[in-house]
């Protein structure tokens, strides 16, 4: 019997300019093996990580954006996205990938993983954690 803690992975950087975003995703996937209560937060430039239509072929970079759609299989089903960060960057929910998870307790119904919250709501999410890891 182990204690389940609430882990929040905070993402505040755009996807390809630095390695932070890709490393965060690696750590989340590794951490998912430990059966903890894992959430991810996307604010500031971090919201750019979730945009759809990323094509990195010409830039010669690994496109890791499809990985976000696999997180549900690792029971990472809460992706908090800050509304103000979207607004500031001229983005809406339509600009982001459609990320779903299957709820095995509800006949495998597909449910949205992205939860849009206000800045104050994001502060509440952060204050509700046992561990906060920033990238």
């Amino acid at each position: 019997m182990s204690i389940v803690k609430k882990f929040l992975y905070v993402n505040r950087k755009a996807p390809y300019g630095t390695i932070y975003a890709q490393e965060a995703l690696e750590v989340v996937l590794i951490g998912a093996a430990f059966d903890q209560d894992v959430s991810m937060a996307f604010l500031d430039d971090g919201v750019f990580q979730l945009t759809k239509g990323q094509d990195t072929k010409e830039a010669g970079l690994k496109n890791f954006s499809p990985t976000f759609r696999a997180l549900g299989d690792y029971e990472v089903t809460k992706l908090y996205v800050e509304q103000e960060s979207l607004d500031e960057r001229g983005l809406t929910l339509d600009d982001l990938q459609d990320i779903q998870w299957e709820d095995e307790d509800d006949d495998y119904a597909e449910k949205p993983s992205i939860i849009v919250v206000s800045r104050a709501g994001m502060a509440d999410v952060m204050a509700d954690q046992d561990v906060v890891l920033s990238f």
Binding site: M122, V132, F135
Partner: protein
């Protein structure tokens, strides 16, 4: 249920300090360290913003990083408490969580 937030980048380099202060809860602590200490200074373009947004939290600065940068202690804004490494460790140990704003 208080959080210790740490900021280690100058507010003139990026928006990290502003974002941090936009997400703190009343009673939280914010420690400015490394290049973050420039956010603790008076008489610059960020001073009023920091004072305003940080009004409901406790602001701290790591003294060693202030000294290292040749910032006179008198230039650290009133109400910002200087701490040493030992006190920093004590703060980290006694809060509910630490959030490093990278």
């Amino acid at each position: 249920m208080a959080t210790l937030h740490t900021v280690n980048k100058s507010p003139f380099q990026n928006q990290t300090l502003i974002s941090c202060l936009g997400h703190v809860k009343d009673g939280d602590s914010v420690l400015l360290m490394e290049d973050g200490v420039y956010g603790a200074m008076t008489g610059n373009a960020m001073s009023e913003v920091v004072a305003g947004m940080g009004a409901n939290v406790k602001l701290f600065v790591l003294g060693a990083d202030v000294s290292a940068r040749g910032i006179d202690a008198g230039r650290v804004a009133e109400g910002i408490t200087s701490v040493n490494y030992e006190e920093f460790v004590g703060m980290a140990a006694s809060c509910d969580r630490v959030q490093n704003w990278l």
